[in-house]
Amino acid sequence: MDAATVRLLVAGILGLPTLGFLVVTLGGTLVPRRVVRLLGPGVIVGAFACVVLLTVGVLERAPADRSITVTLWHWLSLGGKHGGFGATFNVLVDPLSLVMMGVITGVGGLIHIYSVGYMAEDRGFNRFFAYMNFFITSMLVLVLSANLVFLIIGWAMVAFASYALIAFWYERPTAVAAGRKAFITQVIGDVGLVLAAFLIFLNLRGRSGNLLHTVDFATIFANVGPGAHFHNGLGPAGSGLVTVIGLLLFAGAAAKSAQWPLHTWLPDAMEGPTPVSALIHAATMVTAGVYLVCRFHPIFEQAPTAGAVVAVIGMGTALMAAIIGCTQFDIKRVIAYSTMSQIGLMIFSAGIGAYSAAIFQLVAHAFFKALLFMAAGNVIHGIGGEQDIRQMGGLRRRLRFTYPAFAVGTLALSGIPLFAGWFSKEELLGNGLVLGPATPWLWVAGVVVNVLTSFYSFRVLWVTFHGEAHGEEASKAHEAPRVMVGPVLVLAALAALFGFTNIDFGTFHPITIVATFLAPVFGPIARVPAPGVALLALLVGTALSMGGLGLAFLVYGRQAIARDLVPRRAPWVYQLSLQKFYWDEVYDAMLARPMVGLATACRRVIEPGVFNGAVDGVRSAVQTLADDFRTFQSGLLRDYALVFFVFAVIGLLVLGLHLT
């Protein structure tokens, strides 16, 4: 495939969603709804077609030659001899960005089609598709960028798109607050990313020790960390500088991927429409953090401390979110916490250096989590907007297509053998046995996460679809229209079958289709567990995941175990989980309130007291003085004339005395 064709396809990938966005935004409500209905999903499907063509073209090349850079336009340059800043909008097409693009446009396209049905009754239909198309453009900019600047630009653009879509129903105060929270958290992450970019730009040295002053990925990675020609462009491995860069990058990733301590916005983000949750807060945007860590793997390989922090925080978030997920009642919030938890696993995997496993989990997760959200959307749609699972029940008889799809999603999420999640999670966890900090213990934590995951997934499945209908709406539920069921079924098929691309029972060694495709980017994995150990881990992990399923069945299916066992026996554990570890309260008390208090103090005390006070002091001093002199000013001309004469006479007398 020649350069011109690649450029054309890239232009199509970026341009089509932009076109959709522009048409709908500038046209506003003048664009008829039936046009938007075709245009909105159409441009995304078109972009997906371009991605497929591009992938085919890239596959024609030799594996080492699959990284293509396309220059789109010159952004700015203060450069020259003085070493000022400069950046160009370059696009990097390589296996990693192709996988990401495939997920974004593929899953994104399905969700757009689904949205045509889900949002059909909404008065903001056009606006919704404008935002969605804009989101796709932004996400594509993020994954396609070949330098830090456009990565940051994409990074912030998706944050805005996410904000706009969370607060889509802007008349709900909760949605508005959730949007603001998400946006501010993202900006904190952006700042981390920007600072990391500065450090790289200012400190990266070339082979001869000269400062390179670049933000281009290719140059950065060629000069950092292990590669064909080993070279420490950012100081020796494990040095303070590269560790700080790694941690700052992770601050960006944590904000985007809802990892502790920047995680509290994600559950609130469920205020947005359900397709938004599926697209942004499950399949694509929240996994951008994983993409970031994987993209910057040379830096994390140079900074083992930062990598360890990433791994520990990832696993810690996964565990925390899984615990919280067990007690929530809002169906979307449960899925949101499971997203946070699964992304924690991906982050963990990226942190320990198992990048292709992380990306594989990313793809699989995009399928089954989008599936779960959309199926949940069908449920919510079917029972008139109710989201509390306690009001549902017995829906399996009424939602004949949604139920099996949701079940497939649950099975995949829980890591039940032969579904996508099983392949991805077991591979990911297996690496934790030999890589990363605290080697076996993080694996143990991961297994616990898996057990909890299958527990709460099946809890939702049972409470929602089995048993008796608990609400009036639930007993009158109706199946969603075809345009919504179709994409759900496609995703169900993918969630069920995608895992087989990872099949390799011979060695338990991740040499698979996805991993092979990604190998030119990530290189070989550092260590893999011995086949025997891996097999044992697989068996133990799988058995325990099934155990979680069984436990949920006993509690919620058979009701052999009382549901209030934990609340009664260990109320603090239950409360901790139900109240989401109190992080919202902590941040409110530690950050939001002091900030608002400071602002109020500035307004009430400092501004009037100090600044205006100083000015007013000078003013009143002058005023007092002036008031004293003012008594001379009677307004009568004669008085002025008298004063004039008196002083003239005095002056003449003085002059006369002086002369004589």
Partner: protein, 598 residues
């Protein structure tokens, strides 16, 4: 150059005012048309200059003549390259200028102490990459202000006449290449601004106008003293007494810093500041008040709170940038070593402005005051970038000056449109306006995003470069300033969400709020009219356009920005020969040459 485009641009608004004065005030339609026509013509000329400058950013008077201490400057470039230069000798008379030229040609033999110092002051104008953008911004904002002048506004003719005077004053400040001329325009611009603030606007406008004028005049008094001080100090050192800015830059960067750093007051010898540093402080005070930086800012909320919308468009948009412009053109160029000396102070003031302005904006309920304090915060970024003292910071600061002019004008326009509709500025009394006014909400959103420095918006370019520049000097200040970005996001979202989102709340005319439920569309409220859309559209387009493709603006300023950075002789490309330190070498007055030849 075949025709004096810069001079025409400078005096066209003045001519407009004169023409307006001849039209009877009762013919408002004619008054309005003429006012808009002259503003549009000025803007068109500034655009012609901009395009011409963009095509050849390096052309201009390039070479100084003469020599300094026996070193010939015949091949030395003028420190700053200016284009579209025009020079008319004025007070100093052609005789003095001729002597001066002669002295230059004869090198170090021609001039001695006996050479009587003429008041060497000429009408010298010209633009560099910084000024050419600022002039274009001035043209745009004054045009928008003329168009935005409400039909219901009192005394439109007087307002437009004063606006023409103000525009000439502002452009004069930007294009003057003579210190006296600069000072003249600096003060001249104040007078129409004062009367506009006094005559139109809210109930407290009298106090606001007084506060503004007293603050500014107090600051410029020190500047006047510093101008005279500079004139005599460099004159005594070199024998060339001149107010010419390029010549002064060439001389000042060489001779002032070499002075003994002592002052004798009542017999005590204080050695804490050099004359250069005193001069720096005097200039910086005038500019810091104008910007304004935080301890000197209290005139701004009052003035912004009481002016009318058309006034605020150019007052907030361009007049406040004059301070930042002065910091670059005068403080940075004339006193590079003092700039280094005071860098920590200026950075601290910049960061203080960013954080304090942001916090104040966060605490306001008045939507105008939110914009006013956000303006303080943003200009803190500009000062921060200027005193990063590197190309990245300065380039970012210049971009950000243009950006902020655009953004703040747009925000004040939006705020003004809401005020006209609802008669209130209380954030708590409005809400959910996206439902009845979707177009306003959309355009406002773009401006708000630009205001918070979102990537792909114009101010991201500026703030990114500024932070990068500051980061090279001191990562701690850069981190503190980036906290300001987070706060900016917060207060801007508070403003936007408070106005456009949530339940629909529309303040009624009788002071009673009409509370409308979610399903009610807020009837009776009109979305933006075509004229209002036309006013906002160019600003919105610039916000997005510059963010996506900032290269044109950067490539115009790049060359001059790097020139400003070389002046202190520390840069790798220092062009001026370095002189020996100490008093002895500067005791024999020598002419350094001047850049007065166009």
């Amino acid at each position: 150059m075949t025709w004096p485009i810069l001079g025409i641009t400078l005096f066209l608004p003045l001519l407009g005012s004169a023409v307006l004065a001849l039209i009877p005030a009762s013919r408002t339609m004619a008054v309005r048309t003429v006012g808009i026509a002259f503003a549009a013509a000025t803007f068109a000329l500034s655009l012609v200059m901009l395009v011409s400058f963009y095509a050849t950013p390096k052309v201009g008077s390039a070479v100084l003549g003469g020599s300094v201490h026996g070193r010939s400057l015949a091949h030395v470039a003028s420190p700053i390259t200016f284009q579209f230069q025009e020079q008319l000798s004025w007070l100093g008379s052609t005789r003095a200028l001729g002597q001066f030229r002669q002295a230059l040609n004869q090198g170090n033999n021609g001039v001695n102490q006996a050479f009587a110092p003429p008041i060497n002051f000429s009408f010298h104008i010209g633009v560099d990459g910084l000024a050419v953008w600022m002039v274009a911004l001035t043209g745009l904002l004054f045009l928008l202000a003329a168009v935005a002048l409400s039909r219901r506004e009192d005394r439109p003719r007087s307002f437009l006449i004063l606006m023409g005077l103000a525009e000439t004053g502002v452009i004069g400040v930007l294009v003057s290449l003579d210190l006296v001329l600069f000072y003249f325009f600096w003060e001249a611009a104040l007078i129409p601004l004062y009367f506009q603030l006094l005559g139109w606007g809210g109930p407290r406008r009298g106090a606001a106008a007084l506060k503004f004028i007293i603050y500014t005049v107090a600051g410029s008094l020190f500047m006047l003293l510093a101008i005279l001080g500079l004139y005599f100090i460099t004159g005594a050192e070199t024998g060339v007494y001149t107010f010419d800015v390029p010549t002064q830059i060439a001389m000042a960067t060489q001779v002032i810093g070499q002075h003994p750093t002592s002052l004798t007051i009542f017999g005590h010898v204080f050695t804490f500041l050099t004359p250069e540093q005193w001069l720096f402080l005097a200039f910086a005070l005038a500019f810091a008040i104008k910007v304004p930086l935080v301890p000197f800012h209290t005139w701004l909320p009052d003035a912004y709170g009481s002016g009318t919308t058309p006034f605020l468009i150019f007052f907030a948009g361009i007049v406040s940038k004059l301070g930042a412009f002065g910091l670059i053109r005068y403080n940075l160029a004339l006193f590079p070593q003092a700039s280094h000396f005071f860098q920590p102070v200026m950075l601290a003031l910049g960061v203080t402005s960013i954080l304090y302005g942001g916090l104040m904006a966060l605490g306001q309920r008045d939507i105008r005051q939110i914009v006013a304090y956000s303006s303080i915060s943003h200009l803190g970024f500009v000062v921060l970038g200027i005193f990063a003292l590197n190309v990245d910071g300065l380039g970012g600061a210049i971009v950000q000056m243009v950006n902020h002019g655009i953004i703040v004008a747009g925000l004040f326009l939006c705020v003004g449109m809401l005020e006209v509709r609802f008669g209130t500025r209380d954030l708590g009394r409005m809400g959910g306006l996206a439902r009845p006014m979707p177009i306003m909400a959309g355009m406002f959103l773009v401006l708000v995003l630009a205001g918070m420095g979102m990537p792909l918006m114009n101010s991201f370019v500026g703030e990114f470069l500024i932070l990068l520049g500051v980061f090279q000097v001191s990562p701690a200040w850069a981190v503190a300033a980036s906290l300001g970005v987070v706060i900016a996001c917060w207060y801007m979202l508070r403003l936007y969400q408070g106005l456009t989102q949530g339940a629909v709340r529309i303040p009624g005319t009788g002071g009673e709020e009409r509370r409308a439920g979610g399903s009610v569309s807020g009837g009776g409220v009109r979305d933006l009219r075509a004229l209002e859309i036309a006013l906002l559209a160019p600003l919105v387009a610039v916000c997005i356009g510059v963010g996506i493709y900032p290269s044109p603006i950067i490539s115009t300023i790049r060359f001059n920005a790097s020139q400003y950075m070389r002046l202190d002789g520390r840069g790798p490309q220092a062009l001026m020969p370095t002189l020996g330190l100490g008093v002895a070498s500067s005791s024999a007055p020598q002419p350094p040459g001047g850049g007065s030849a166009p």
